[in-house]
């Protein structure tokens, strides 16, 4: 029901009014330092998980980790688009989008392409692609509310865990649930599940995606400078958190199944 074209207005340059003085938070090396959201160093954000939120999809999940909110819809397995080549195994198609209000600056960045491909790599190993030959499973993901500046990688673990929850809800065959947790290294401290603010000050980060029951890692991302014992320590921390997250996801799926039966 459009009336007048708005093409003229889009030419106008705009900017968001932001405070001129930015009060920079000092980088703290002190052990007494409290995290901005008052968590302990080894304490994850409170999580809320729910499945079957999108009626139109074959499987869906909605999760909240702190202020990060992610909604995933899984469609398929359905006919592969275009005249794609015959393949014995199924295809997985991942698409991550950020709402325009997710960032401080309006408009989509280019990070979503990168995050989509990382999500694809993390999930690919866990899905039994042989179970749906010639067809495609589409994973569509909306992410909103990360109060971030530009680089939104800190939400990747949330994105991956939520996507695997939705895949399970859709009944796609998987070897195991995929859970993901990241750790930031700030000075001498390791902090788990960092928020954007902390990520800006980090010296290094480590993210693993992990299949808890099989005790297998599907993806590992490491940035910054790490010593071998630190990596070991961080890995242990992540895997432990992943196992616990796996339990929560499992019970969430069981609850959903139980309530749909009754």
């Amino acid at each position: 029901m459009s009336s007048k074209s708005s093409s003229t207005t889009t030419m106008i340059t705009t900017y968001s009014p932001s405070p001129t003085v930015k009060n920079r938070q000092p980088i703290i090396k002190d052990v007494d330092w409290a995290r901005p959201d008052k968590r302990g160093f080894h304490q994850c954000r409170p999580a809320y998980l729910n499945t079957g939120t999108v009626n139109a999809a074959s499987g869906s999940a909605y999760v909240e980790f702190g202020s990060t909110k992610v909604i995933v819809s899984v469609f398929g397995p359905r006919e592969s688009k275009k005249a794609s080549m015959y393949s014995d195994i199924g295809r997985l198609n991942c698409n991550v989008s950020y709402t325009t209000f997710a960032t401080n600056f309006r408009g989509q960045g280019t990070e979503n392409k990168e995050i989509s491909s990382m999500l694809h790599k993390a999930l690919e190993g866990a899905i039994i692609l042989e179970s749906f030959p010639k067809t495609t499973v589409d994973v569509l993901l909306w992410c909103w509310n990360p109060v971030a500046v530009s680089f939104l990688l800190c939400d990747l673990p949330v994105v991956i865990s939520c996507a695997s929850l939705a895949l399970a809800d859709a009944g796609i065959m998987m070897y195991d649930l995929v859970t993901s947790v990241s750790v930031s290294c700030l000075g001498s401290n390791l902090i788990i599940d960092p928020i954007t603010e902390e990520e800006t000050y980090q010296d290094g980060s480590l993210m693993i995606t992990f299949m808890p029951s099989r005790h297998e890692v599907t993806q590992l991302t490491l940035t910054g400078e790490w010593s071998t014992p630190r990596i070991h320590e961080a890995m242990q921390l992540c895997m432990d958190a992943c196992c616990k997250l796996g339990e929560i996801m499992r019970s969430c799926l069981k609850d959903a199944a139980a309530s749909s039966e009754s």
């Binding site: 029901m1 459009s2 009336s3 007048k4 708005s6 003229t8 207005t9 889009t10 106008i12 340059t13 705009t14 900017y15 968001s16 009014p17 932001s18 405070p19 001129t20 003085v21 939120t53 999108v54 009626n55 139109a56 202020s67 909604i71 709402t99 325009t100 209000f101 997710a102 960032t103 401080n104 309006r106 909306w142 909103w144 509310n145 109060v147």
Partner: protein, 274 residues
């Protein structure tokens, strides 16, 4: 035609309801309609349960999450400062939803400094779950987000740019004066609400689900404002609509407008209590 109908009726008596629904969706619906009820137990003219939650998104300046049945829409507004065009130096503008060009908002309210700066509202509506009557949900979400909108307090800095007033400035340390202390909420001259109806034979089905929209193709969307004026009547192809049908749809919409206005008012007053 008659013989196939007969065969279908024979099969119908034998197969299960769910299979019948998939195989002969139209006949399945027509049987319901002749009993004046819909498969989800609604009467023909009743809309689904509707809820409005304001302020779902903390990073936006105004936001709303609307559910009509399963249909879920999320609307969010971000405001930015722009230089108004030369022909309308006192006006801001809204990007995103064209129904609002019908004068719902006085664009002069968005002006900050005549000819220099004005607000530009970016309105984005996301569909999280599609189950019919998408336009109705989108319009309601947009209207709700606009009524939730709080424009940030701003002042002009030494370079002549408009900047936001952060917390400590408001407490009085600032030498600069805010230029929009009063105008933080928008006032609406008229609020539009809409209802989509399906026309099928002599029946009118209000607020269709996705399944209903797929099976019965003639849709009419009526948009009325609170004073009952017609903002839009939108019908694309399909079966013919006659004057009496159009009037019936308008009457249904009138009733729905009252309902929606009440739901929105409740959401707004709930928010103000918090």
């Amino acid at each position: 035609m008659g013989s196939t109908d007969g065969i279908q009726a024979d099969i119908a008596s034998e197969i299960e309801v769910d299979a019948f629904r998939r195989l002969f969706p139209l006949r399945f619906y027509e049987r319901h309609l002749s009993e004046s009820v819909r498969p989800d137990a609604r009467p023909l003219n009743k809309a689904r349960d509707t809820s409005v939650a304001l302020g779902a998104i903390s990073s936006a300046d105004g936001s709303a999450l609307v559910k009509i049945g399963h249909t879920t829409m999320l609307a969010a507004i971000k405001v930015e400062v722009m230089t108004p065009s030369l022909d309308s130096p006192d006006e801001g503008c809204i990007v995103g939803f064209d129904v609002f060009s019908s004068g719902m908002i006085n664009l002069k309210e968005l002006s900050l400094i005549s000819g220099k700066a004005a607000w530009m509202l970016y309105l984005d509506v996301y569909c999280l779950d599609a189950d019919g009557a998408l336009f109705d949900a989108a319009l309601l979400a947009a209207v709700a987000a606009l009524s939730h909108l709080r424009i940030p307090v701003v002042s002009v800095n030494d370079d002549g740019r408009v900047v936001a007033m952060s917390g400590e400035h408001v407490e009085g340390k600032s030498v600069r004066e805010p230029i929009n202390r009063e105008k933080r909420k928008l006032t609406f001259s008229c609020i539009p609400f809409s209802l989509t109806c399906i026309l099928h034979q002599k029946y009118i089905l209000a607020d269709p689900t996705a399944e209903e929209e797929l099976i019965m193709e003639t849709l009419v969307t009526v948009v009325l404002d609170l004073s009952g004026r017609l903002v839009s009547l939108y019908k694309l192809g399909g079966n013919l609509a006659y004057n009496s049908t159009v009037q019936d749809c308008v009457a249904l919409t009138r009733r729905r407008v009252k309902e929606l206005h009440q739901i929105l008012n409740e959401a707004v007053s709930d928010m103000e209590v918090d």
